[in-house]
């Protein structure tokens, strides 16, 4: 379903907007609400993560991730927290692109418990949190997933 070729293709295209300036474990937070996004970012910062907060398609009409340009913060993120609300197709498109382009990047998705079949299929394999999730829940999920990813990395090595 999600090809590695498309992920490789994403490496070749130009990336917008600015790239990450920090090399710590990096988490991209996609949240349409500025205050909520900042609250999650604050929790993640105090947990030791560099963060980028993006309002998603609501903030700038069209997300570069769904176009040929690509998105630098998503490209180099170690983990993505997506809380875009998936009633709109634009938000689902962003999620679809994230899964297609970066199949190896862990994804925490804040999704409604009564998700329709299409959304459930899209969310298959993601770490799901029932909406609305508190920043603490999201931070805990991120810590759990990054710990898991680190263990897998160590095991693999």
């Amino acid at each position: 379903m999600f090809s590695r070729e498309s992920a490789a293709q994403a490496q070749r295209v130009g990336l917008n907007p600015q790239p990450w300036r920090w090399s710590h474990p990096r988490v991209l937070v996609e949240h349409p609400d500025e205050a909520a996004g900042l609250a999650i970012a604050s929790g993640l910062r105090f947990a030791g993560y560099a963060v980028a907060v993006c309002p998603g398609p609501a903030g700038h009409g069209r997300c570069p991730l769904t176009g040929p340009a690509g998105c630098a913060p998503a490209h180099d993120a170690d983990l993505v927290v997506s809380s875009l609300g998936y009633e709109h197709e634009a938000a689902r498109e962003v999620l679809r692109e994230l899964r297609t382009r970066y199949p190896d990047t862990p994804l925490v998705v804040e999704a409604p418990s009564d998700a329709d079949a299409g959304l459930r299929e899209l969310l298959g394999g993601c770490h799901q949190l029932p909406a609305p999730a508190t920043p603490e829940q999201i931070v805990a999920a991120v810590q759990g997933l990054s710990g898991q990813a680190a263990e897998e990395g160590t095991g693999g090595a």
């Binding site: 917008n16 907007p17 600015q18 990450w20 300036r21 920090w22 710590h24 937070v29 996004g37 900042l38 970012a41 604050s42 910062r45 105090f46 947990a47 030791g48 993560y49 560099a50 963060v51 980028a52 907060v53 993006c54 309002p55 903030g59 700038h60 570069p64 913060p73």
Partner: protein
């Protein structure tokens, strides 16, 4: 003086770009004429100008996406770091009280960042020290007034205020930013829009405190922030238009200089070619405009003592490619000729006086002779009915 680069990578990239840009100019200067180097330089400068203009236009159109970033928190979880950015409001009592209040909160560190706001003119003229000294005095006064030296520090930056804040994110790593300005931008003060720019860029809480002399701090509402954003955009557009105008002027001046240089170079080459032609022409033997001669039967005594037919002039000097007029009075009753097959010359000289044109296309020395049967001895001997044409 502060380095304009913010990282070694940036400096290295700049050096590589300069080398890449200078190399074709140097090659053009070495391998081609001088004007070619100017053309290459103009093309490179034009490309740089277009790139900068596109980048600026992109910023003006706000195509840059609103992604905020922040580094991880530094220190223990209970520790808090607050960055206070102020310049002309640094002496305001209300701001100093706010800093003092923050410093009193346990495990809170405060950094007072003072962007020195050095104008490009001051940078060019080197009048930077005065501005920096003034900022140092203001900062020292503020730090002395606030006290709490263990938790309150100060820093002066020569960089653009937003860049200074960005640099501080790499060194101090604040958890909160307070931007202090006046309601309207003063000549030597921070732009009120700075708070919005910091808020758009960094994923930490940003407070904008506005101070007026003797009044308490206030936070601008959304409408005021929107106005700051609008006015800043308009000012940036004006600034961009002005710079574009100056850029076009410089480009036009450069282009005109190049055209003048090319024309001057062409004129010099033409002058040099003309001079060379004159010198070459002066080195050649002189050529008469009109040569007058006669054909006289039995007019010249031969070495054996008999008279032979003759052309009174048998050596002709001409310029290759230039016609030479010959006025020949053939006193004989039959035609004669000046024929030089190698030079492509065949002039039939009719009885009577006529004017003929002698044209030799390539330089050289060519034998000519009369092809009409007359004095056979004379036809075979130069100086009688035969001779040479020298074309130079």
């Amino acid at each position: 003086m502060r380095s304009p680069f913010h990282s070694e990578q940036e400096a290295f990239r700049f050096v590589v770009l300069v080398i890449v840009a200078v190399l074709p100019v140097a090659l053009a200067a070495v391998l081609g004429p001088a004007w070619l180097a100017f053309v290459v330089l103009a093309v490179i400068l034009g490309a740089v100008a277009v790139r900068v203009a596109l980048s600026r236009m992109r910023k003006l159109r706000d195509v840059e996406l609103p992604v905020k970033m922040a580094p991880p928190h530094v220190g223990s979880a209970a520790e808090r770091r607050v960055l206070v950015v102020a310049n002309d409001t640094l002496g305001e009592e209300a701001l100093l009280c706010e800093v003092e209040r923050l410093a009193c909160v346990p495990r809170t560190h405060v950094l007072l960042l003072v962007p020195a706001l050095i104008s490009p003119g001051a940078r060019l003229t080197g009048a930077v020290d005065g501005v920096l000294d003034q900022a140092r005095v203001c900062l020292k006064t503020a730090l002395d007034r606030v006290g709490h030296q263990l938790v309150v520090a100060g820093e002066i930056s020569e960089a653009d205020p937003l860049q200074a804040v960005e640099d501080t994110f790499a060194t101090f790593v604040p958890d909160e930013v307070i931007v202090s300005t006046g309601w309207e931008r003063a000549a030597s003060g921070l732009e009120p829009r700075l708070a919005g720019l910091v808020r758009e860029r960094f994923a930490v809480p940003v407070r904008h405190l506005v101070f007026e002399p003797g009044a308490a701090a206030q936070e601008p509402d959304r409408e005021t922030e929107a106005r700051y954003r609008r006015e800043s955009g308009q000012a940036a557009a004006r600034n961009f238009a002005l710079k574009a105008l100056v850029g076009v002027g410089i480009a036009a001046a450069l282009l005109m200089s190049m055209v003048a240089l090319v024309q001057s170079s062409e004129r010099d080459e033409a002058r040099a070619a003309s001079q060379a032609a004159v010198e070459q022409a002066s080195a050649l033997p002189p050529v008469a405009k009109l040569v007058v001669l006669k054909v006289i039967p039995e007019g010249k005594l031969g070495p054996e003592g008999e008279k032979h037919d003759e052309f009174t002039q048998t050596e002709f000097t001409v310029r290759a490619g230039q016609p030479q007029e010959l006025r020949i009075d053939n006193t004989d009753t039959v035609p004669h000729s000046i024929t030089a097959p190698e030079a492509g010359v065949n002039i039939v000289v009719m009885p009577g006086t006529h004017t003929y044109t002698l044209l030799v296309k390539q330089p050289g020395r060519f034998l000519w002779f009369c092809t009409f049967r007359c004095d056979e001895w004379a036809m075979e001997h130069p100086g009688y009915m035969s001779g040479y044409i020298t074309a130079s």
